[in-house]
Structure formats: structure tokens, C-alpha cells
């Protein structure tokens, strides 16, 4: 356990060291948040509700996306791809450590820093723009949201790990990861609520793990999901996490065996 705590701390330190790239990351996120904020604000002006979202719920969805992007959809996929193609992972393979656990610890530390930044940004936005903010109706809804957020993070970690591991086969190119990153933001609802999409696509996505990453957690927060339904969603996202956790371990092992045959 201690080694993962150390890994968490060392990565925290590195993120703080690389302030400029962190700030660039955040600025990108702020730009997305502000443009979506103004987009929905203009669109909904004078309408009491849209697709079942009240004005305040929709604007809160936009702010919530910033939290979810920062905590759930943040990872170190590109680092992993780089470590695989440069052979840097060799230095972990010869040490008595579990790379999955190590990577998760590093991920969590990045998520922590980004979460703090996102909360600050949203706080600032609340103070300066006074948007109509939706506060959860019950403490239970809030805790269910936190649970969904944790589940979403774990699920995203495994998904991203799986896709990044494909670098064992694709060598230099991070093509799959690039595609994944763009796709997932749409499919998870990190640009707009999935209700905007045609029914058929919504239906299709509901059988996939993606809505559990952003769309459902925010809807739980917004009280648009009953308590029973929320618990069920939490359970299903847990099942997805287990499925993709196992798949990522399997692909990782297979990748390693190729790595060991091919070069290292």
C-alpha cells in the first residue's frame, strides 16, 4: 500500500512542478466550459425548460461537466503510450511493483489536482456570474452523485488503460487513444446532455458503458434519476468497471508477452 501512496505523492509533486502544462490544460477546460455556458444560456433564454432540464439544471449540467471532465475523464493515457513505445515500462517491469496499481495511483493524484482546480473555477464562475445554480434536493442525492463520480473514474481508468495498451501493437502511433478521447467525450455526454441525440442513438448508448462516465452522474446530481434508479445505475457501472478492469488486465498481459518476445 505504501508504494502506491508514494507514487501518488511523487506524481502530485511532478504535476505541481509542471505548472505551465497544467495551466494550459485548465485554460482549455475553462474555454470549453464558458463557451458551452454561453451557448446554453442563449439557447434557453426565455424558455422554462428544455428536454426536461430546467434553466438552472442545464447551466448546472455545464458546470458539472467541468467537474466530471477533471475528475473522471482525466488520465495519463498519453504517458502510458509514450512509456510503452519508448520502452520506459521496462524500468517498472524489473521492479517488484504492479503497474496497474501504480498507474491508478498516479491517475488519482492527477485527478485530485484537477478536481481542486475545477472546483476553484466553478467557484469563481458562481461568484462573478451568479448563474442560477441547482443545489441538490437531498444529501442522499449528493452522496449518490459522489459514488457515481468514483465509479465513473474507475471505469474511465480501465477504459483508457485498455486503449492505451494497444500501443504494444500499434508501436509509435497513439491513433486508438486519439480516436478514443474524442469519441468518449461525445458518447459520455461531456459536450451536451445525451438527451439531445436521436432516440435510437440514445438507446444504443444506454447499453454501453459511456453514459456512466458523465451523463448519469450529473443526472443523479440534478435529481433527474430516482433513488432506486440511481442505485441500479451505480451497480451497472460497477459491473462495467469489473468487465473493463478484467479486459484491461488481459490486454496488458497479452501486450507484455509480445513486449517480452519482441524487444523490451
Amino acid at each position: 500500500m505504501k508504494k502506491y501512496l508514494r507514487a501518488y505523492l511523487i506524481s502530485l509533486q511532478e504535476t505541481l512542478q509542471r505548472r505551465s502544462s497544467f495551466v494550459m490544460d485548465r485554460l482549455g477546460g475553462i474555454a470549453v466550459m464558458l463557451s458551452l455556458y454561453y451557448f446554453w444560456k442563449t439557447l434557453l433564454w426565455g424558455h422554462p425548460s428544455f428536454l426536461g432540464y430546467s434553466y438552472s439544471q442545464m447551466l448546472t449540467y455545464v458546470l458539472g461537466m467541468n467537474i466530471l471532465r477533471s475528475f473522471a475523464l482525466t488520465g495519463r493515457g498519453w504517458e502510458l503510450v509514450g512509456e510503452i513505445s519508448s520502452g520506459k515500462i521496462s524500468s517498472y517491469l524489473v521492479r517488484p511493483m504492479n503497474y496497474h496499481g501504480y498507474a491508478l495511483a498516479l491517475d488519482l493524484s492527477q485527478k485530485t489536482v484537477h478536481l481542486f482546480a475545477a472546483l476553484l473555477e466553478i467557484g469563481a464562475l458562481l461568484i462573478f456570474f451568479h448563474p442560477p445554480f441547482y443545489w441538490p434536493k437531498s444529501i442522499t442525492a449528493f452522496f449518490l452523485f459522489v459514488g457515481a463520480l468514483m465509479m465513473a473514474s474507475l471505469l474511465f481508468f480501465f477504459l483508457e488503460f485498455l486503449v492505451s495498451s494497444l500501443a504494444f501493437w500499434t508501436s509509435e502511433s497513439g491513433g486508438p487513444l486519439f480516436f478514443f478521447e474524442i469519441f468518449i467525450q461525445f458518447a459520455a455526454g461531456a459536450f451536451f446532455p445525451l438527451n439531445v441525440l436521436p432516440r435510437l442513438i440514445q438507446k444504443g448508448l444506454s447499453f454501453s458503458p459511456f453514459p456512466y462516465l458523465v451523463f448519469l452522474p450529473i443526472n443523479i446530481y440534478l435529481g433527474r434519476v430516482s433513488r432506486g434508479q440511481a442505485l441500479q445505475d451505480l451497480f451497472i457501472s460497477g459491473v462495467w468497471a469489473v468487465v473493463f478492469g478484467a479486459a484491461s488486465v488481459w490486454v496488458w498481459r497479452k501486450g507484455l508477452s509480445i513486449y517480452s518476445a519482441e524487444g523490451g
Binding site: K2, K3, L5, R6, A7, I10, Q13, E14, Q17, R18, G87, K88, S90, S91, L93, V94, R95, P96, M97, L166, W169, T170, S171, S173, G175, P176, F179, V251, K254, S257, I258, S260, A261, E262, G263, G264
Partner: protein, 324 residues
Amino acid sequence: MNAISVNSLQKEYQVFNRKPGLWGSLGSVFWREWNNIKAVDSISFQIGEGELVGFLGANGAGKTTTLKILSGLLTPTSGSVEILGFKPWRREREFQKRISLVMGQRTQLWWEIPAQETFRLNQAVYGLSDKDYQESLGELVEMLELKDYLAVPVKKLSLGQRMRAELAAALLHRPKILLLDEPTLGLDVVMQKKVREFILDYNKRWKASILLTSHNMDDLTALCRRVLILEKGKLIYDGNLEGLVRRYAENKIIRIVFDGDVPASQIAAIGGTVDSQKTSMWVSVPRAEISKKAALLLSSFPVADLTIEEPSVDEIVRKIFSKS
């Protein structure tokens, strides 16, 4: 008891024919074609506890490949390897706690932050108690003269400082087996000497078995009594280094740069031509005759520049190979 025991070890790299494009490479997750490249060709050797052995051979001879197998990074194609009773490629925790692999051109240090942070991480990774860690660290910092660099971000260290930090990170857990791949690569003469002294000291102090590759003759003469020589994946020599040098390095090399073209055949009359490139030529001459031959060369040909060099390890290896 042997610390390392290698029997008929063979490694063929399977190089997968990667398909172009995204779908091709994704498809290769499930099916693929490959070519084989034989890098290590049934080699056998034993290394005892506390032995310091040099591993040499020309570029591409298979040294790094062998070290990667010994450290557990690569699975052998056939043959057996046993280190302290473990099979390396199983990567058992207890095995990993007893070995270390240092590659001159790779780093395990975190780049943006001070080396001491990586040391603390390794303390946790290897499960060292605070007492053991402090003791080991204190010793390494002193031997490697690292005190002033502990708190400096690794990216700001010079190559020599980084290499020493690298060694410290790799040795905190006091491995009994140490595999060093070109540890003095790119270091200046003073730093090479320091690293060498350290390696020797570590070897003596902990009776660690060390296998080290280098293209630097000084490394080998200073450190190793025994050397293994690989040539195209085959082990062609396993024995005493001194005898080897006495037998094969009785010559020195004169390097000449000519003003214009001089046919190699004319030079051959003076000494054995080792190598020639356009207007440069390397000529091998017995030690005793060096000044006489140099003078002769200078007076008989349009020489622009002339230097006298020690033969390189690769040169010696090549000689051994051509005679065997």
C-alpha cells in the same frame, strides 16, 4: 554455488509485421505474421557469487539482449537461466528484490523532480524499513558523492551526475545481482573512473555478482578479471582478460589522415591495415615499432594528421574472431 547459471540460452526476436493504418494495427491484436531474428545463439556460462564479469562484443552481438533476459524483461526462446534459484522471466517479487538492471541510455528517475523522490519511491517499492533505507542511502550518497545533487530536479543534472543518481536508485535495496549495460557511456574520463571505482567497491562490499557490458577497454581492464565475448550471438570466449589483452593487444593503432588518395596496398607494406575510410586509415603496428613506423609513414606519404591510439575492445574482439 553459482549466482547465475545460463544453459544453451537462445533468443530469437519475433518481429511482427505491422500492418499499416489504424485497422491493420488493431487487427494485429488478434492475428499477425512475424519474422525471426536470432540475437543470442545457444550460449552457456556460470557466474559465481561476488564475481565481476565483463561482457563484450561488437554492436549487435547480443549483449543487451542477454542482460534483458537475465533481468526478466525478455523470455528466452529456448534454454535455461537460473539466478539465485529463480527463473527471471517469471518476474517473482523475491527475485526482483535481489537484482538490478542499469542501462546507460535509460533512466528510471523521475525527470522533473529531484532524484531523492525516486529514492523514496524505491524505498516503498522494495519495502525497505526507514532504518535500512537511511543506512543504504547514506552509504550510496557518500560513495557516489551525491550530496549536493539530491534536491536538484533530475533534468538539471549533468549526464555524469544523473548516472550516479541512477546507480543509487538501482542499488538502494542492495541487490546481490547487478546487471550493467554500458554504465560509462558518454561520461568523461574523470567520471568514468569514479563510476568504475564505485562498481568495484560495491562488488567487494556486498559480494555482489556483477555482469557489465562496455565498449570501453579501461572499464574492463580496471574491473574485470574474467570476460565473456559474444560474436553474432555466439559465445566465443570465456576466460581471463589479461591473457586476452596480452595475446591480442600487442599492437597499437596509428590513425592517419592523408592529403589525397593513398592506396591501402602501399600502407600494408608498413603495417596491417585495420580499416580505411576515404582519406583516413587505421594501421596496426607492434608496440615496440611504433615510433619507427610512424616516422616512416610521415616521410613516405602526404600525411595531414597522425595520431597513435590504443586498440578498442571491438578491435580486439574482431581480431580474436578472425583468428578463431
